[in-house]
Amino acid sequence: MQLPDLSPLPAWAQLVVYGTLGISLAVIIAVARLGILQGQKAAPASNPASAQVAAVIVDPTALNRASEAVEGLTTAVNEATKVGREHARNMERMAEEMDKVREEMRIQREVSRGR
């Protein structure tokens, strides 16, 4: 097919055709350029946070392993808290006993002085 011959068209119509073609090409280039720039901004490599999220979505094994580790750590911390609380209770009891011993010794001293 030959290229369209626009010479029979009136000047204004030729202007419309060429103008439309020019503007259309400019719009195509502008939109493509904008798309490329936005795409480069959105690329996972340009955004470490997105890359990490993408990596987790692709392979969640590491996330699952980390969740299990956190669960184990929580159990250990709960156990340690329980032991600590028990220890504090025992210390309190021991202090009470020592106070009783001290009181007993004081009474013994007073009795021996009175003799």
């Binding site: 097919m1 030959q2 369209p4 011959d5 626009l6 029979p8 068209l9 119509a13 419309v16 055709v17 439309t20 073609l21 259309s24 090409l25 719009v27 195509i28 939109v31 493509a32 350029r33 904008l34 798309g35 490329i36 720039l37 936005q38 795409g39 480069q40 901004k41 959105a42 690329a43 490599a45």
Partner: protein
């Protein structure tokens, strides 16, 4: 043999199906382009209708225009099939074909507008041109994202 093409198997079809959804408008507009050309190739003298005066002035022969449009539409469909089947995406094929599609639909709108007849074309082809702009943007976005941009 091109190594970017998937070896025969279900993977190729799955990939085409997977990519079909986001590229639905590209498939539809490619089909519309091909059918538009096919309609012009029918025995009916479409260019004799008043609304086609602009096309008659610019292109002269409706069969030639119909054949070109049919070839462009089919080529675009072929491009989309190749693009959907390839393991590595080739957004530039889509950017160029959507750019061509934009020119086609702007050209059709301009052809109708030259006839000076206001009709339903005003509600159809400019919207198709806008859809093509969206396709260009999305394909170029894919190109930028996959670092395929120059």
């Amino acid at each position: 043999m091109n190594h970017t093409l998937m070896p025969p198997g279900p993977g190729l079809w799955i990939r085409i199906q997977h990519r079909f959804g986001p590229r639905m408008t590209e498939w539809a507009l490619a089909l519309i382009t091909a059918l538009w050309g096919a309609v012009l190739l029918l025995p009916e003298h479409v260019f004799d209708q008043p609304a086609w005066a602009g096309f008659r002035l610019i292109f002269g022969s409706e069969n030639a225009l119909g054949a070109v449009m049919l070839v462009l539409g089919v080529s675009r469909i072929a491009g989309l099939i190749v693009n959907g089947a390839r393991k590595q995406v080739t957004p530039w094929i889509r950017v160029f074909s959507a750019g061509g599609g934009f020119l086609i639909f702007v050209g059709i709108s301009a052809g109708y507008s030259l006839s000076g007849i206001i009709s339903t074309w005003l509600a159809i082809y400019p919207v198709f041109a806008l859809l093509e702009l969206l396709n260009i943007y999305r394909a170029a976005h894919d190109a930028g994202e996959s670092n395929a941009a120059p």
